[in-house]
Symmetry: C2
Subunit: 407 residues, 2 copies
Amino acid sequence: MLTVAEALQKVQDCVAALPPRVVPLEQALGCLTAESIASDVDSPPYDKSMVDGYAIRYADLKDGVGELRFLEEVTAGELPTVEVVSGTTTRIMTGAPMPAGADAVVMVERSKELPTGHIRLEDPKAKPGQNIVRRAAVMSRGDAVLPAGKLVTPTVVGLLAEVGCAEVRVVPRPRVAVLATGNELVEPREKPAPGQIRNSNGPMLAAQVMRSGAEPIVLGIARDDRESLRTKIAAGLETDLLVLSGGVSAGVLDLVPSVLTELGVREVFHKISMKPGKPLWFGLRKGADGRMTPVFGLPGNPVSSLVCFELFVRPAIAQLAGQPLPAEPQYLAKLTEPFTHRGDRPTFWPGRREQQTAGSIGPSVQPLRWQGSGDLRTLIDADCLICFPAGDRAYVAGEKVDVRPFC
Amino acid sequence: MLTVAEALQKVQDCVAALPPRVVPLEQALGCLTAESIASDVDSPPYDKSMVDGYAIRYADLKDGVGELRFLEEVTAGELPTVEVVSGTTTRIMTGAPMPAGADAVVMVERSKELPTGHIRLEDPKAKPGQNIVRRAAVMSRGDAVLPAGKLVTPTVVGLLAEVGCAEVRVVPRPRVAVLATGNELVEPREKPAPGQIRNSNGPMLAAQVMRSGAEPIVLGIARDDRESLRTKIAAGLETDLLVLSGGVSAGVLDLVPSVLTELGVREVFHKISMKPGKPLWFGLRKGADGRMTPVFGLPGNPVSSLVCFELFVRPAIAQLAGQPLPAEPQYLAKLTEPFTHRGDRPTFWPGRREQQTAGSIGPSVQPLRWQGSGDLRTLIDADCLICFPAGDRAYVAGEKVDVRPFC
């Protein structure tokens, strides 16, 4: 059986970034740019005033004082119509274009309108060029302002808007299909009859997909028959990645691997040496365009499903988005209490990280009293998985263990 | 003028969590629950098998070995039809209900079908009760499984689905209106004429709203006239919070505060001792239902707008969502290079945190070569703001400064 690290390596080797696509700017947040962007404007596009005030010729001030004839007012969005010649001034608003002839701006707080209509300015510390941002000070038309491969943050959105990129070529947000399988499942709004349970994996996996920055495509429940599975799986293969839950252990009704094969999905691995999550299935389908669609068959138990998603599906989604996760998202923490691990497989056990306090030395983690892979109730208090290596062992409080945060 | 801390305190005093609302489960992710949830089912709903195997009476094994008559097969979603009496066995799949009479399950890997149709089992370590999860082991019908005030994570979504909450009462995701103002603005897809610039604040603020976990309502551009402002602002006041950019400094066309007052928005403060962002305006409008709608007027310069959002709007959105941010999201980091701060206001300067390496002691931060509040280009490399207190001072490399990460 593969180890977790071997299986993860296979997933990473098989999954490539999605082909770039042009998307509207408002959909690009969180994506990686796939083109380098040049500005189509100077920024600022003209010499502009940084303050509300009066545009003057600096030479008109004597010891910072001058009384100047008022010409006109220019606000942002307007253009000056007359030149500021010696002895005159134009009122100018923040962001507005400087009038020809002027070489400084005196802030409005240092001005007074005289009864004659002239403007008296008093600015003892005035300097030539003050309160002006020069045309193209930030960037010139044609400048490369953003390389390819940059994560689109809110600031990048602002910059792209400024340089006219209402659309931008990015590695798109992956679309991830989620399909629960099983005759025993009913939707959350239904009341389970005897022998039935509600589909908790579908909604949980869709939420995990969202938290991974991808778009969930919810396919509902497939029944344990070839026809139902074939229809739903075929729909899922039209997306960028398909996540199934249930139907991959060894039971007679575990038809999923067989239907996947029938639909052209090649098995890469089945079963991993880990607990929970041993029956994990992973395969690839080569589409008409030559692209490989990754397919994960997660075990049906909710906690197995959650853990397999964190360990394998989340990194695959990151690869599709062109943003590989760090190889080792784990760190060491001290156990807050003793813990006995039993079993011949590495175990991922729900834990809760302790708030770090001033007195504490390094992070610590509490193993939760967990009832096994059907127990979601305990898991709501978990914020990490504690990784215990294979083998029976009694850990004492304070011993260091590997911890893997999740969201 | 108010200090940043005083202004933030006023914002926090004025903004209350939104009234709870029932939303479909798939919309609850990231929200706080506003009701305590009890389970309407036992989990598991019946004694169930944890493995694919054979349900038996433990007493039928001698030294772990038995040959038993095959009765029927029960898969998940089916109910057993006959009791397992002495000398018989029922094939059972993972998750399926245990048949009456059986008190243990032997894994399928330890079984063999004999030519007689009998099943031979060899499980030397077998114990009574093995491979069975008892009805209600995880939770009983009526158990409180989730308190009010819990953040809805993917795991909580799974648990809510399991206990039948297809809808749940939560503090809803805030709806935040974004409105840019200014005669000089054109939309990103337009080519600016002389004197015009593109609206970069609108898209950037909408992205910041998304990153804050809220839903942006994009209102576009309002012109600097009362009618245009009145219509757009009135639309914005129908949401949970209104963010304007531009129109709040002292210019003659800065009509925004006056139109806000006309529409019943009461000013709480205007101007803060900080750089950039001094002209920030904050007010409240009491709605017909008595609820207060917070309104922020951010300065029009993109970086001022970004900084004011991070410092004031993001905490206000968190309060609306019932999830107040930690009071001090800052930490100390060492300057990687000397920096000279000048000015009589505290300054928030774009910085880039250095990757922590094995040899480095504590976090460090590089102040970026930033050209002032119009310069978004430099800001795309920033991942934090460095907070320099008021006053002229030359900082040396290695000195500790306050750092405030942003996303």
